[in-house]
Structure formats: structure tokens, C-alpha cells
């Protein structure tokens, strides 16, 4: 018989505990015929490889390039992103809010961590953190400063708290010196953070892209 070493259990269990719990739960649900592992693989694969901020960047680049599309995006965002093939889970009802020289938009979900999956993928850890959720509404300038973004006191900050099933896309300002760029090149400039509103889209480096 092996020696009983209870005092080791705690230390070993700590880091891997959720991993073991999930493994046990998954195998139980598979054994009961309630989930198929291939379906889980497909769900993980969808958000690790297929759906992410590149989708949103295409939307933004098209809005910058095509005034009629931009008008449709601001009027009915859900329909406009569907034109590019995006939509569905956690993006069933989309709203686009436009940054201007005098208005800067910022998106948060103070009550949980609602986020527009179809155009941005799954949210980063900081977006889900108590730090961001608590302060974005009461101290947006302080939060933006932590992202290195110092806005003029004259810029009006509009914070969108996603309390319902509406998901928000910030349409950033098109940077200067991008007149010659096509949609694909423009899309490469657009970051996830700019579409949440914690960053601006930077002016491309000379000779760049």
C-alpha cells in the first residue's frame, strides 16, 4: 500500500485545479452523450482561428473607403456587417458609434463583460477585469491614459455601457496620409483596441504598410 501523503494534495492541486475540473466535467458530459468533443473542438477553433478583430478591421476599412457603406453601417450596423458575412452569436444586434475630432467613444460592460464576438472575437482579459469595468464609466480619461492615450480636455468622451443585448463597434477616425490606401491596406492599420475605443488608429509610418 502506498503511503498516505495528504499534505501534498493541496499544493499539487492548486494551479491545475480548474483544468482538472473541466476535464472531468467534459468527460462526464461526453459519457452521458450530452456533448460531442468534435463540437467543442469546432467551437474553440472558431474563436481561435476564424473570428477575431480582423473582421472588424475590414468593416472599418470599408466604412472609410465607401461613404454609402459607412452611412449604412451607422444606420443599421447589424445589416451592414452582415453584408461582409459577419454576425451571429454576441453580435445579433450591433451599433456602430463614430469617433470625430470632437467626440471619442469607449465601450465597456460594467455588469459582466459583453463584447461583440463576430467582429472582435473574444474579449481580452483586461476588458473583463474589475479594473476596467469599474473605472471606464467614472474615470474614462484615467483609463485611456493607462493605454497611453491622452485626449484633449475639449474632446467629449462618450462611454457605452453594454447593459443589454446590443453590442458596440467604435468606428475610429481615419488617420491622415492614408488617401492612397486601398481597403486591405487600411484594414491592416485598424487595431482591436481602436474598435473598443481605448486607442486611436495611428498614422502609418512613412513608406510603411
Amino acid at each position: 500500500m502506498k503511503k498516505h501523503t495528504p499534505h501534498h494534495d493541496g499544493a499539487q492541486r492548486l494551479p491545475s485545479d480548474p483544468a482538472l475540473q473541466v476535464m472531468a466535467l467534459e468527460s462526464l458530459l461526453v459519457e452521458k452523450g450530452l456533448v460531442e468533443q468534435e463540437a467543442l473542438d469546432a467551437l474553440v477553433d472558431t474563436y481561435e482561428r476564424r473570428v477575431g478583430p480582423r473582421n472588424g478591421a475590414k468593416v472599418v476599412a470599408k466604412a472609410w473607403s465607401d461613404p454609402a457603406y459607412k452611412a449604412r453601417l451607422l444606420d443599421d450596423c447589424t445589416a451592414a456587417i452582415a453584408e461582409l458575412g459577419f454576425g451571429g452569436l454576441q453580435g445579433e444586434h450591433m451599433i456602430a458609434v463614430e469617433n470625430t475630432p470632437t467626440v471619442h467613444n469607449l465601450v465597456v460592460c460594467t455588469l459582466c463583460s459583453c463584447y461583440p464576438y463576430p467582429i472582435l472575437g473574444l474579449p481580452p482579459v483586461w476588458y473583463k477585469s474589475p479594473a476596467y469595468r469599474s473605472r471606464a464609466v467614472i474615470d474614462p480619461r484615467g483609463v485611456l491614459r493607462e493605454f497611453g492615450l491622452e485626449l484633449s480636455a475639449h474632446t467629449q468622451i462618450c462611454v457605452w455601457d453594454s447593459t443589454a443585448e446590443l453590442r458596440y463597434l467604435v468606428l475610429p477616425q481615419r488617420p491622415a496620409a492614408t488617401e492612397a490606401m486601398g481597403e486591405e491596406q487600411l484594414a491592416s492599420l485598424v487595431t482591436r483596441d481602436a474598435m473598443i475605443g481605448v486607442a486611436l488608429v495611428a498614422v502609418p509610418q512613412a513608406g510603411g504598410a
Binding site: 456533448v35 463540437a39 473542438d41 467551437l43 452569436l89 444586434h93 481580452p124 483586461w126 469599474s134
Partner: protein
């Protein structure tokens, strides 16, 4: 409920720490939790509001300590128990107890793309005209329900203006407790930052909150 999940306006939660080149999932198990929540949610035994509320019920100290996917795992486990997908004995042993075979067909992999693309729209058809119009001043009610609500504490009692009329949506306060969808008009309400936080806030800044008709009174 007035829980710690209702974080808008809290201090003392530390600095925002963005991570460079962050992976979608930091550990394999996080992806599995995410997928399990979606796959089990596809049975339709609960709804997104019930699922959110289940996570709000995690003890306050644990909620603040746990990571996002740990909370998802805790919430999913409770839902699976409550809705009899699994028993406490099965959870403890990790083995299915002998039972009348498979209860329900599992979500097959080929249905995943449809699930993701379709989503679950929360809009419903309107049966009455909206009570409020764009530009109208409204006051968020001072509601303090012990159950689920999507009216944040920081907005209660505050005056704002209707910015957008979104149409009719499922009402989370009843839906989370399986007391019906009670669909009603949803509005984006603009609150000036100084109305919410006092004179220390930016004079031109504002917060827009999506609020249901039952949360609002004319002001």
C-alpha cells in the same frame, strides 16, 4: 441584485493591465469551458440572463478573486446541477451513474457554424408603441431587486435623455428567473457624467446605458 458584479464607479480595483499579443485562451481548459457553455446552452434549458445571474450568485469574495473562465465554470456547473443534466454524485465521482441511456442528442460538430452564425436574437416584435421618444428626459428608477437586473446601481435615480429607441427586447429581470420574456421597449439613455458622478467629472463627457422601459420614468 446589488452584487459585486455591478462594478461601474467602484474604486480600488487596481490598474488596467493590457497584455501584449494576448492569446484567445491562456490555457486549454479555458477554451473547453467556453465551448462547454455554448454546447450545453444549445439545449435551450436556460437563457443568457439565467446564465449571467448564476455567475452573479458566486460568493462575493470568490467573484473578485476568480478569473473570468473560472466563474464561467462555476456558473455552468451550478446550471448543470439545477437543470438535472448531471447529479451531485456524478460530479463528485466523475462517472455517469447507470441511467436510461442518453437523454438528449448532443450538439453535433456540423451544427456549430450555424449556432455561431445564427446566435440568439433578443429582439421581439412590438405589440405597443414606445413610451418615450428621442430627446425625452427620463429618470432611472431606484430599483433594488434581490434578483437579476441590468439597471446598474450607478444610474439609479439619475436623470438622462433618450438617445435611441432600439425596439422591443426580452426583459432580463424576469427572463433570468424563468418568469417569462416580458418583451418591452429598450432605449439608449444618455447620462451626463456630472449627473452620474458630480462636479468632479468631465463637463462634456457622458455615459450611454441601454435601459428597458420598466427601468424608466418620465423626468
Amino acid at each position: 441584485m446589488n452584487g459585486v458584479h455591478d462594478m461601474g464607479g467602484m474604486h480600488g480595483m487596481g490598474a488596467v493591465l493590457p497584455e501584449r499579443d494576448e492569446p484567445v485562451f491562456h490555457h486549454r481548459w479555458e477554451g473547453r469551458v467556453f465551448a462547454l457553455v455554448r454546447a450545453m446552452g444549445a439545449f435551450g434549458r436556460w437563457n443568457i440572463d439565467a446564465s449571467r445571474h448564476q455567475r452573479e450568485l458566486i460568493a462575493a469574495a470568490d467573484q473578485l478573486r476568480m478569473s473570468y473562465y473560472e466563474k464561467w465554470l462555476a456558473g455552468l456547473t451550478e446550471l448543470l446541477l439545477r437543470h438535472s443534466f448531471i447529479s451531485a454524485e456524478e460530479l463528485a465521482s466523475g462517472r455517469a451513474t447507470p441511467a436510461p441511456a442518453k437523454q438528449s442528442p448532443a450538439l453535433p460538430a456540423q451544427k456549430v457554424p450555424g449556432l455561431v452564425t445564427r446566435g440568439s436574437p433578443a429582439s421581439r416584435s412590438a405589440s405597443s408603441p414606445p413610451r418615450f421618444r428621442r430627446g425625452q428626459r427620463v429618470r432611472a428608477r431606484n430599483l433594488n431587486p434581490t434578483g437579476h437586473t441590468r439597471l446598474p446601481r450607478y444610474a439609479r435615480g439619475k436623470i438622462g435623455a433618450i438617445d435611441r429607441v432600439h425596439g422591443v427586447f426580452v426583459f432580463p429581470d424576469t427572463n433570468a428567473h424563468f418568469r417569462g420574456e416580458h418583451p418591452q421597449h429598450l432605449y439608449s439613455v444618455r447620462f451626463e457624467a456630472r449627473e452620474l458622478w458630480g462636479d468632479g467629472a468631465g463637463p462634456d463627457d457622458a455615459v450611454y446605458i441601454d435601459l428597458w422601459e420598466d427601468y424608466l420614468d418620465p423626468a
